[in-house]
Amino acid sequence: MIDRSPSSLVNAVSRQLQDVMDPELTFLSVIDMGILRDVRFENGHIVCVITPTYSGCPATEVISKDVLKAARVIDSDAEVEVVLSPAWTTDWISSEAREKMTANGIAPPEGSSHDKAFLTGDGHIIPCPLCKSKETKLISPFGSTPCKASFTCNACFEPFEHFKCF
């Protein structure tokens, strides 16, 4: 017999959502990314609250569907709510997630989003995630997805992506 009390449903759904991955960063879960903001029990069903990273990021739609699918395994009436405020920030990305990014060849966001200089990378050194050299160069503040900038390493000559501080 499955325990249907609100608190155990919230716990079960939260566990289930640990396996929902960001479609563009498949080694990171929506929890690692700080995209899942809350799981609560309301009006007789589970509500999963998510927030988009960038307003136009196409991954948000996929994430929303994936979260709903996973939550409905536990509660068939579960719903997803998308909230814009407070706006998502890279400060919400966990330190484990930052280590996973580096291990996967993506330089994680550095510093705090409250420091405007970090936003554009001006005067800040983004170390190469591959050879760890600090001799790197910004190629473009934009990249393959809205959240990444393009860099190249002057030591190992490899191009790499940097998850922008946002």
């Binding site: 988009p52 998502w88 990249g143």
Partner: protein, 247 residues
């Protein structure tokens, strides 16, 4: 609702213009940059138009209905953003003049408490537009302070677009009502800030700020230049020909 439509339409029309660069920009990195900026603007459009459409008391509309099923005279965007792409310098000049304005406007909306939904959208938009404004400003400086060829061409781009900048600050009844309510910034104060921002970048770029002459207006009331109709024809043909199509 009119104020929100203007915000959504500015973002939508500029996004569509930038999307036209996809596969055509001078370098791969710039192709990616312009389309990334377009994507951010499409996201802002979806938020603003969804909110505007939900406030229609008679017939609530979705963001897609507002984007694809309105005709030219129902669009309330600035004339500046509908101007055709021209060469890369023209596109960057248009972006620079708009980004500096859009950033100041979004910063105000993010902080006001009259409409909290709009504030939430703007708070996200501010972070995105900061990147856009940084990018377009750096290009203005690189082109202006570059070769004599790039200098003269970007100067001409700015000169040619200047007649569309007055409309950003020409307050009508929607702007005044929005400003009194608190949602929109006071446009004359915004102009003072914009002037400082623009002058500082132009000076660094060794470019000359054009003299304010006769300014073109009409976008806010649905009277557009010929560029918009041609753009909308392409943007809207699929949903108008095949209503409800999806893939």
């Amino acid at each position: 609702m009119h104020a929100l439509l203007r915000l959504g339409d500015d973002a939508l029309v500029l996004a569509q213009r930038l999307g036209e660069w996809c596969g055509h920009a001078p370098a791969l990195e710039e192709d990616i940059a312009l389309t990334n900026i377009a994507l951010d603007l499409i996201g802002q459009t979806q938020s603003y138009l969804s909110l505007a459409g939900s406030l229609d008391p008679v017939a609530p509309k979705t963001d897609d209905e507002l984007a694809f099923l309105r005709s030219e005279n129902e669009f309330k965007n600035l004339l500046l953003v509908e101007q055709s792409n021209g060469h890369f310098g023209d596109t960057i000049a248009r972006q620079f003049l708009f980004d500096k304005y859009a950033l100041l406007r979004a910063e105000h909306i993010a902080q006001q408490t009259f409409d909290l939904d709009a504030a939430a959208i703007a708070a996200k938009a501010v972070k995105e537009i900061r990147y856009h404004a940084d990018h377009s400003s750096k290009w203005i400086i690189r082109l202006g302070d570059g070769t004599s060829e790039s200098h003269s061409r970007i100067q001409k781009s700015i000169n040619d677009l200047w007649e569309f900048t007055g409309e950003m600050f020409a307050a009508d009844e929607v702007d005044i009502a929005g400003s009194i309510a608190g949602l929109l910034p006071d446009l004359s104060a915004l102009k003072t800030q914009w002037d400082v921002e623009i002058d500082s970048v132009l000076a660094e770029a060794t470019l000359v700020r054009p003299k304010d002459g006769a300014m073109k207006t009409g976008g806010r009331t649905g009277i557009h230049t010929k560029e918009l109709g041609i753009m909308l024809a392409e943007m809207q043909i699929l949903p108008r020909t095949h209503p409800g199509a999806s893939w």
